[in-house]
Symmetry: C2
Subunit: 421 residues, 2 copies
């Protein structure tokens, strides 16, 4: 008997019929002899409906009260799933975030989990019940209701799996796993049977939307075995088949990782803008003089490149979220240029970031050069390059996004699965 | 500075605009220097929407999970009202039933309040905040969410007012007070400036729908000064005017009650049916032999009349809710007649119960006879009579309901206000 955590998102819980399907799927796992804890999101559309209602009442809704309102979406979901389970003969009980309790800090709308009590969940499991837990929500030290921010239900699921030392955390979603790249761009993209946690983290931060990045961080911190799989298959698919479907996230000390792939996947993101401050004096402290005021304005800088200097002057380039571009310009003009000098400022919000991720590149050089060669053969100009241990990210003109992804996917033979060393 | 509890029902909270109006009304009381605790219901229609959703998922929804779902309606309301208050510069905080905490037993869907913690509410009041509390809900000793049953928000308000020893509990509703009778039947009906708790209790049980009967019982138990008043007036009406509007529920030791009214109001109810078991032997124990099995079947008997016996046989008549009539017949035929004998059984589900209520009739005879005279002059036949210390109830043919109410209203000169001794 294993302890298995399931997670179902808003689409999977989107209608009474789908909720009954989720119940059948959960029942199947319970009847196979497992203890099951299920984390669910609000029915699709519900969170947006609640936020819109709040905005109708208040133009700038108070964050604490917004959390009080938003958490009702998941509370309705847990009640509905628990009653659907009982209807088909599976003893079940629902628990809200505070009933568990999921303890968080008091940052409304983006709270971080501190600890999770496992007492109540374990008591209910001992009674033979399936425990249905509301995702996305917690309670702060004063007993106020908090939420973990958008996509927080993934984080709830992974954190609860960690607290319970669950044997596996199954994230049921509307795709059937993690792919070598977005199948809408490259139809030959292959589903990965497994991916290392670090690769998953890099893919999530590079724009892959399969898992929320905070949930991946959490999974890595506590080495939670997570599997991403489809909730759209036949709910009566045998457990033995479902148990090995989708994509398993593994950890370095996992023996399966001995056969390391060079490159596992390619992600593309079109949400950034590029900013270049020309002719800044190349002297110690200039980088922090530029990036300090930007960080203070709560703007997240992603890639940073500084060119070699010519006659004591250099060009400093970085990327920021597109929505923060105007704000960034204001900070540069008001707080940076008056201090460090330099100029003019050049911006481009028609860029794409293409990232190649693979734990194998850690020990193998040549990944970057293979990338540059493949792109240059197609005449795609590279605007920026940034490398980490297991990722190479490039910025290209936005119009080349799909082409660049296809070219790189082919260059690493990913249509045959992760390219091995 | 007084501590005032406000209660707003679903109609008052029915739209973003109405919620902003409630906020203005609450702000006015706060700005007049009072501490204010507000209890709210779910937005009108919301509880029904949630129950319908539950029924779509499960034909016979589990009561525990139904409470988990139903309580989200009030949770949304408290968040919306708290943010509307903050928007107009009034510091406010929302609290759910478990956050207060309102401790109840574990009878889902009809829980009874055991105790109410006043710590958190008092802390928030000390911080200068308006405290917005979700009505209708509580938490059982195991930490499960419970509800108090339909109309439970009135009970929440009165109970919280009692726990806080509030100076007054203002029940804002869609009528502007308690009337001598239903103004839709008698346009000349007069609003009462005050009514004794006992009269209010009798009126509530006699069919007046102004306040939920459990909330009146609670008010009486803890002598909570309650005022029923309108939420549909201009929210900016001066506090001094609003503070004396509507109808105040008073207690016997209240000096205002020295000027006792003979009769305060008349209520009518069309929800009962009459059952007569003819020819039962008139011997000790027969009443309990008839009513025992009916009580065991969870059928509530209201009026009971036993005629004088003729030749050792008597007729036994009682009223039950119309919806329980068939069930009652089954119990009589299967469990009563085989034991006590008697028969046939006669039923009538086209009856009305007319009740005249007045604390003054305690010390003054003649109320009943004045009633009979007035009705007989109009040719209205009286089928049953039942009297209590401060109420006389009559059963008449349903078709005479409005006529009987008008005749009695006039007989006691209630168009000039409560008829005095």
């Amino acid at each position: 008997m294993s302890l298995i955590v399931h997670k179902y998102g808003g689409t999977s819980m989107g209608s009474p019929e789908r909720i009954r399907n989720v119940a059948r799927r959960v029942a199947k796992w319970r009847q196979a002899g497992h203890q099951v804890v299920v984390i669910v999101s609000a029915m699709s559309g519900e969170t947006n409906r609640l936020l819109a209602l709040a905005k109708e009442v208040s133009p700038r809704p108070d964050p604490r009260e917004l959390d009080v309102i938003a958490t009702t979406g998941e509370q309705v979901s847990i009640g509905l799933l628990a009653m659907a389970l009982k209807d088909i003969g599976v003893d079940a009980v629902s628990l809200t975030g505070w009933q568990v309790a999921v303890h968080t800090d008091n940052s409304y709308m983006k709270a971080r989990i501190d600890t999770i009590d496992d007492f109540r969940i374990r008591e209910e499991l001992k009674r033979g019940r399936v425990v249905v837990v509301a995702g996305f929500q917690g309670v702060d030290p004063e007993g106020n209701i908090t939420t973990l921010g958008r996509g927080g239900s993934d984080t709830s699921a992974v954190a609860i799996a960690a607290a319970l030392h669950a044997d596996e955390c199954l994230i049921f979603t509307d795709v059937d796993g993690v792919y070598t790249t977005d199948p809408r761009i490259v139809p030959e993209a292959k589903r990965l049977n497994s991916i290392s946690f670090e690769e998953m983290l890099e893919l999530a931060s590079a724009g892959s939307k399969v898992l929320q990045i905070r949930s991946v961080e959490f999974a890595g911190k506590f080495k939670v075995p997570c599997r991403v799989l489809s909730s759209l298959t036949d709910p009566d698919l045998p457990v033995e088949v479902e148990a090995v479907s989708g994509t398993l996230i593994t950890y370095e000390d996992d023996p399966k990782m001995m056969e390391k792939a060079l490159v596992s996947g390619i992600a593309a993101s079109r949400s950034d803008a590029k900013v270049t401050l020309h002719n800044v004096p190349d002297m110690p402290g200039v980088a922090s003089n530029i990036l300090g005021p930007i960080a203070e304005a709560n703007i997240e800088v992603d890639m940073i490149v500084q060119n070699v200097s010519v006659e004591g002057k250099t060009d400093f380039t970085f990327t920021v979220p597109r929505g923060d571009l105007e704000n960034t310009l204001e900070v540069l003009n008001k707080k940076v240029i008056p201090v460090v000098g330099g100029g003019p400022v050049e911006t481009n919000d028609h860029i794409a970031k293409i990232s190649v991720v693979g734990i194998g590149m850690r020990s193998h050089s040549g990944v970057a050069s293979r990338m540059f060669k493949a792109l240059s053969e197609e005449g795609i100009n590279i605007m920026m390059i940034s490398t980490s241990e297991i990722k190479v990210s490039l910025v290209v003109d936005e119009k080349y996004t799909e082409l660049a992804v296809r070219v790189l996917h082919h260059a690493f033979n990913l249509e045959n699965g992760p390219s091995e060393v």
